[in-house]
C-alpha cells in the first residue's frame, strides 16, 4: 500500500506500523463516575466495519508522526490521511464549544 503522508507525500506502507481504530484518540475522563466502564470500552471494544474505517498508523521508520488514515476495509482504498495531532486538537476544540 501507499500512504500519502500529509507532510512527506506518498510513502510505502512498509515504513509504517499499524495500531488500529482511531477511536483510541477519544480517551475517556478518569474523573467520570462511569470511568471504569468507559475505560473498559475504550480499551477493549472495537468496531470492525466492512467499509470505511478510521485507523491509527505510526510512521515508525520515518518522521514518527501518528496519522489518522481513512481506509476502506474491503477495497483498501485510502481516502484521507491526517496528522493525528491535528485531529485530536480539533476534537479538543469541538468539545470546548
Amino acid at each position: 500500500m501507499i500512504i500519502n503522508h500529509p507532510l512527506l507525500g506518498p510513502r510505502d506502507s512498509s515504513e509504517f506500523s499499524y495500531l488500529g481504530d482511531a477511536a483510541l484518540l477519544n480517551r475517556p475522563s478518569a474523573k467520570s463516575e462511569t470511568a471504569t466502564d468507559d475505560f473498559y470500552r475504550y480499551q477493549y471494544l472495537r468496531d470492525n466495519p466492512p467499509g470505511e474505517h478510521r485507523e491509527l498508523w505510526y510512521h515508525e521508520h520515518g518522521d514518527r508522526s501518528w496519522l489518522v488514515i481513512t481506509r476502506n476495509m474491503t477495497t483498501h482504498a485510502i481516502t484521507k490521511v491526517e496528522l493525528a495531532r491535528d485531529v485530536k486538537r480539533a476534537m479538543i476544540e469541538a468539545s470546548k464549544s
Binding site: 500500500m1 480517551r27 478518569a30 471504569t36 505510526y58 501518528w66 485510502i78 495531532r85 485530536k88 486538537r89
Partner: protein, 942 residues
C-alpha cells in the same frame, strides 16, 4: 526463421549424459533436439513424462539444475535459458528415470485414487507418527533441496513508472511503442528471454514480412526511447494494493556470474496494461500423459522458434488455431473424431481413434482451445466471467481494478490483428496517439468446447499432481461438489504450475459430473505468486548479518580484549561475563564479579538502556501522564524512579528520569522496551495531549553510559571527574544528578543511581568518548581492584536487592503485584490508572512479588517453578504462583529467588513446594522479603 544461433553451440548434461544445444535454446528445446523423450516421473504414479509445453505452463518437465549446495529443484525446463556447462537432472524416481522402482504405484493405481491418504492412513492412530508419515514424507515431494546455505546472491529494488506493460507479445509491444513515443514513463516486462510473445512461435506475416522482423524493429525502437525500460526474464508474480506490482527478474542461472542471480522488484505504477497472452489447454483422454503428447502451440514453438521438426505428429484439435500445426494426421473433434487411447509406455508409438482406427505417430499435438492468462486480474479480488463463444474465462470489466487494462489474448482477443487493435484502443484511452495498425492475420478461433473423452482408463487432467478425470468424478461422488473442495481433496491445480493447464479442464469435468454449466460450477481463485518465487529472492540481501543489525556498546572493544562472553539482547551484544585465568566456568566469573563489586568497585556498560530526552514547558506535566508517580514536582538536579503502565493497567516499563533543568528531563527505559516506550510516548504526545509543549528525541546512541557500583565507587569517580565539581555525599547525595566535565574537560552527565544496592553512579559521556572513558576508569581503578562486570552479575545483584526486571515486568503484572502499589499517585490521572484498579487485579488473592529461599541449604531453585501449598496435590487448580527469577547469591551463599505469590505480602515465612515438571526439580521454599541484601538501603546512601 528461428531464433537459434547454430554458430554458437552450448554443451550441457542431463542425468549425467553430455548433450549439446545452441544459443537461443531453452533446456527443453535442447533436450527435444537431442531426442530425449523422458524428462521426469509423475508425482504419484511415477509414470514416465515428457515435455508438454514451451513456457511457464509446463507441468511435466520439472528438473533440478546444478549440483551440491547450489542445486535448485523444480525448475521448469521450458523456462531455463540454456548456457554453457549447465547440469540438469530429472526428478522423482528411485533408480533411473527410465526404470523407476516406484512405478509400482502405477500398477497399484486402483488403490491410490483421490483421498487415498485420508482413507487409508487413519488407523491405528499410533501408526501415523511412527510408520505412515515417515514413509509418505520419504516418497512425497518432487525435487530435493540442497539443505545447505544458498551461495547465490539476490537483491531487491524499487521501480516507478506511469505505465507498466505486462507481456511483450504483439499487443504489449505496440502499446509500449505508442506510449513510449508519447514520452510516457513505461516499463515493459516479459518473462521470456526474448520479447515478442507468440509472434516468435508462429509464422504469421506482419506488414507482408516475417513477424520476427517486425518484433526486431519494434525492440530496436523501444530500446532507444528514453522513457521506456525493458525488463526481460521478469515475471510479474503478484498485483498488490495501490498500484504495486511484484516482479521477479532472473539475471542468470549461471553459478558465480557477477551480480545478483535474481532481483525482486517492487514496481509502483499508475496504470498497468495486462498483455499476458493466453495458455493452450489439453484435452483429457486415456493415457494422454505419455511422453510425446504435447500442446499444439508448443509443437509450433519448437518448430518455428527453435527450428526443431517433431516428425510424425498426430494433431487433435477442437479449433482453427490448432490447425496451424503441421501434422501427419489431423483428428478434428468438430468432425466427430477423437482419440480414445495412446499407446507406448515410454513414448508415443500410436493412437487409437474412436472409429477404432489406429494411427502410427511419435508425437501427439493437442489443442483444446485457449485460456486467457487472467491470473493477475484476480489478485485484487476481481473474478473472471465465462465466455461461451470462446469457451474460456475472460476478465470482467465490471469488477476489474480501475488502474488495470487488459488487452490481446489475455482479454480473449485471439487474432494478432485483434491484439494490435486492442493495443491502439488502450493507447488512445490512456491519452496517446497511435501508429497505423500493422497488417496481419485476423483468423477467428472457431472453437467447439470439448474437454474429456469418457472411458474406463485414466485420462489426465492435472499432469503435475497426477489428477485424472476419474478422481474428480470420484470426489464429486463422495460429496465434494464445490470446486474449492475438489481442489483440496484431489490436489487439482496445486503445486508449481498452479493449474495453468488443468484448472479449466478440471472445472469442465466437474461441471459434467454435476450436470451444471461451467459458470455455475465456478472457478478457483488465483492468488500470488503467478509462478514460483524462491525464498532467497524475498530475503534479497537481508541474510546473515544483514538480516538483523548488530549494535555494539561503546566498551565492546575493551570487553573483547578482556575475555568477555557476549549475549544478544535485542540487536545489542552485551558483555555477559568476563573470564579470568583459572575460572572453571561462567559461575566462577559471575561470583567473582559480584563479590568484587560489593567489596570494592565494579563497572558495567549500561549504554543499551533506552535514553529519551524530554523537553518543553510541559515536560513535567507530560511525565505525570505517562508515569504512575509524579514528576512535575521533581527538583532540578534530582532523579526519580518511575513506573509506566499500559492503558490496561499492566506494568509496561520502568526506569529513572532525571531533571536537568525546568524544561529538560532525561528518561531511561529498559533495553528491551526502548523502542516501544518511545512509540508509546509519541502516541501520548500526539494523540492524547497534543496541546502540551513537549518534544521527544531518542538519545540512546548519543551517550555512552556506565554504572560504577561498590563502596569505592566515589573514590574512583573523584579521580575521573574534574576537580571543579564536588561529588561528596553531602554535595551530591543519593538520587542527585548533574552536568559536569571529566578527564580534563569532556562533557558528562552524572546520576547517583543504584540497581545493585551499593553506593553507585551512572556516568554518561558523548558516545565517541565511551571507549576512552572505560579505559581511563579501569586504569584509574587499578588501585581499588576495579573490575568490569557483565549482565549476569548485574542480574544477580538486582535479584539480591529485590529489584524487578524483565522477568517480573513480563506483561502480566501490575504495580501492586510488583510491590509498587504505593507509587501510584492518588492526586492525578495517568495512563493505565483506571484499569489498574479493576477488581481482579487488586483483590487480596492477587499476585504479589516476594522472595524465596530454599528450606534445605544448598537446594537449587529454578525459575518457572510453580508454588503449591504444603499437603496439596501439584495440579493447576492448586497453583499459588510462580518463580520469575533465580540466582546463586555469592553474597549469601545460597540460591535465592523472586516470584509472584497469591496474597504474597501476608504469607511471610510460609513453606511451600516449588514444583518444576519441566526440569524435574521440586524443592521446599520459604517465603521471605524480596530484599535479600541491605533491606534498609543504607549502603547506597553512604
Amino acid at each position: 526463421m528461428s531464433l537459434i544461433d547454430i554458430n554458437n553451440p552450448l554443451n550441457f548434461t542431463f542425468d549425467g549424459k553430455a548433450h549439446s544445444g545452441f544459443e537461443g535454446d531453452t533446456l527443453a528445446s535442447a533436450l527435444l533436439r537431442s531426442g530425449v523423450r523422458i524428462v521426469g516421473r509423475s508425482f504419484k504414479y511415477h509414470r514416465p513424462r515428457g515435455i508438454m509445453g514451451a513456457g511457464a505452463e509446463e507441468p511435466n518437465a520439472l528438473v533440478e539444475i546444478h549440483e551440491g549446495n547450489v542445486c535448485e529443484p523444480n525448475r521448469r525446463a521450458t523456462t531455463i535459458k540454456l548456457f554453457e556447462g549447465l547440469t540438469a537432472k530429472s526428478q522423482n524416481h528411485m533408480g533411473s528415470v527410465n526404470f523407476d522402482f516406484l512405478a509400482i504405484n502405477d500398477i497399484l493405481h486402483p488403490f491410490l485414487a483421490a483421498g487415498f491418504y485420508y482413507k487409508t492412513f487413519m488407523w491405528p492412530k499410533a501408526f501415523w507418527e511412527k510408520l505412515y508419515e515417515p514413509i509418505i514424507r520419504c516418497a512425497a515431494g518432487l525435487g530435493k533441496l540442497a539443505l545447505t546455505p544458498d551461495p547465490d546472491s539476490y537483491d531487491k529494488g524499487f521501480l516507478h513508472c506511469e505505465f507498466l506493460i505486462i507481456g511483450a507479445g504483439p499487443s504489449g509491444l505496440l502499446t509500449a511503442l505508442n506510449l513510449g513515443r508519447a514520452g510516457k514513463q513505461v516499463i515493459l516486462v516479459d518473462e521470456d528471454f526474448h520479447m515478442g510473445g507468440r509472434i516468435l512461435s508462429e509464422n504469421y506475416e506482419i506488414n507482408s514480412d516475417g513477424g520476427i522482423k517486425w518484433v526486431t524493429e519494434a525492440l530496436n525502437e523501444l530500446e532507444n526511447l528514453p522513457t521506456v525500460r525493458l525488463l526481460l526474464r521478469t515475471t510479474i508474480y503478484g498485483v498488490f494494493d495501490h498500484g504495486i506490482y511484484g516482479g521477479l527478474e532472473t539475471r542468470t542461472d549461471k553459478i558465480g556470474a557477477p551480480g545478483p542471480r535474481q532481483i525482486l522488484w517492487k514496481i509502483n505504477a499508475k496504470h498497468a496494461v495486462l498483455a499476458a497472452g493466453a495458455t493452450e489447454r489439453p484435452i483429457a483422454f486415456a493415457n494422454n500423459d505419455r511422453p510425446g503428447v504435447m500442446l499444439a502451440s508448443a509443437v509450433r514453438s519448437y518448430k518455428n522458434r527453435f527450428g526443431i521438426d517433431l516428425k510424425n505428429t498426430a494433431l487433435l484439435t477442437n479449433n482453427d488455431n490448432g490447425m496451424l500445426t503441421e501434422a501427419n494426421h489431423i483428428i478434428d473433434i468438430r468432425n466427430g473424431h477423437h482419440i480414445t487411447d495412446v499407446n507406448g509406455r515410454k513414448g508415443v508409438t500410436s493412437v487409437t481413434l474412436n472409429t477404432g482406427e489406429k494411427l502410427k505417430a511419435d508425437y501427439v499435438a493437442i489443442s483444446g482451445g485457449w485460456n486467457p492468462n487472467v491470473h493477475l486480474t484476480c489478485h485484487k479480488r476481481a473474478r473472471p466471467i465465462w465466455n461461451d463463444t470462446l469457451s474460456c474465462f475472460v476478465p470482467d470489466g465490471n469488477t476489474l481494478s480501475s488502474d488495470m487494462s487488459v488487452i490481446g489474448a489475455a482479454k480473449g482477443t485471439f487474432s494478432t490483428h485483434g491484439a494490435f487493435r486492442d493495443a491502439n484502443k488502450v493507447s488512445e484511452k490512456l491519452g496517446c496517439k497511435t501508429i497505423p495498425l500493422p497488417k496481419t492475420e485476423d483468423r477467428p478461433i472457431d472453437v467447439k468446447a470439448f474437454w474429456h473423452v469418457k472411458g474406463t482408463k485414466r485420462a489426465w487432467v492435472d499432469f503435475q499432481n497426477d489428477v485424472t478425470a476419474k478422481d474428480i468424478i470420484l470426489a464429486h461422488q463422495e460429496g465434494f461438489s464445490s470446486v474449492e473442495h475438489v481442489k483440496r481433496y484431489t490436489t487439482l491445480g496445486m503445486a508449481t504450475d498452479q493449474g495453468k493447464t488443468s484448472n479449466v479442464v478440471g472445472l469442465a469435468v466437474l461441471a459434467e459430473a454435476t450436470n451444471q454449466t461451467i459458470p455455475q460450477t465456478g472457478t478457483t481463485i488465483f492468488r500470488p505468486p503467478y509462478t514460483p518465487v524462491p525464498i532467497g529472492a524475498f530475503a534479497g540481501s537481508h541474510r546473515g548479518q544483514h538480516f538483523k543489525q548488530i549494535r555494539l556498546t561503546p566498551s565492546h572493544k575493551y570487553a573483547s580484549e578482556n575475555n568477555a562472553t557476549f549475549v544478544e539482547t535485542g540487536y545489542w551484544k552485551r558483555a555477559q561475563w568476563f573470564s579470568r585465568a583459572g575460572e572453571q566456568g561462567w559461575r566462577d566469573s559471575v561470583d567473582r564479579e559480584v563479590i568484587m563489586t560489593r567489596k570494592s568497585v565494579g563497572i558495567c556498560d549500561v549504554t543499551t538502556l533506552g535514553k529519551i530526552d524530554v523537553q518543553g514547558r510541559d515536560a513535567g506535566k507530560f511525565l505525570n501522564k505517562v508515569y504512575v508517580n509524579t514528576f512535575s514536582t521533581l527538583k532540578v538536579g534530582k532523579c526519580r524512579y518511575g513506573l509506566m503502565l499500559r492503558e490496561d493497567g499492566i506494568a509496561m516499563d520502568d526506569g529513572t528520569t532525571a531533571r536537568l533543568s525546568d524544561t529538560h528531563f532525561v528518561m531511561t527505559t529498559t533495553t528491551a522496551k526502548a523502542g516501544p516506550v518511545f512509540k508509546h510516548l509519541e502516541f501520548a504526545r500526539q494523540c492524547l495531549y497534543p496541546n502540551m509543549d513537549v518534544h521527544l528525541i531518542s538519545t540512546t546512541d548519543q551517550w555512552a553510559q556506565f554504572s560504577i557500583a561498590g563502596p569505592n565507587a566515589r573514590k574512583l569517580l573523584q579521580k575521573i571527574v574534574d576537580p571543579d565539581f564536588d561529588i561528596s555525599n553531602e554535595a551530591f547525595p543519593y538520587m542527585a544528578c548533574g552536568e559536569l566535565t571529566v578527564c580534563g574537560g569532556t562533557r558528562a552527565r552524572l546520576f547517583r543511581l543504584s540497581f545493585s544496592g551499593e553506593l553507585a553512579y551512572e556516568i554518561s559521556v558523548p558516545a565517541r568518548y565511551g571507549d576512552a572513558l572505560i579505559r581511563e576508569m579501569m586504569s584509574q581503578g587499578e588501585e581499588f581492584d576495579a573490575i568490569m562486570y557483565g549482565t549476569e552479575a548485574l542480574g544477580v545483584m538486582r535479584i539480591e536487592k529485590g529489584h524487578a526486571a524483565g522477568n517480573e515486568l513480563n506483561g502480566t503484572t501490575t504495580a501492586t503485584a510488583l510491590g509498587l502499589g504505593g507509587f501510584v499517585s492518588k492526586k492525578k490521572d495517568c495512563i493505565g490508572k483506571v484499569l489498574s484498579r479493576r477488581e481482579g487485579l487488586i483483590s487480596d488473592d492477587s499476585m504479589t512479588m516476594v522472595g524465596f529461599l530454599p528450606v534445605k541449604q544448598g537446594d537449587k531453585l529454578t525459575n518457572g517453578a510453580h508454588f503449591i501449598s504444603k499437603g496439596e496435590t501439584a495440579k493447576a487448580l492448586n497453583d499459588q504462583g510462580y518463580m520469575s527469577s533465580v540466582a546463586w547469591s555469592p553474597t549469601l551463599e545460597t540460591y535465592i529467588g523472586l516470584g509472584f505469590l497469591k496474597n504474597g505480602k501476608n504469607r511471610k515465612d510460609e513453606v511451600l513446594s516449588a514444583v518444576d515438571f519441566v526440569r524435574h526439580n521440586h524443592v521446599d521454599v520459604k517465603v521471605v522479603s524480596p530484599h535479600f541484601v541491605d533491606p534498609k538501603g543504607e549502603r547506597l546512601r553512604v
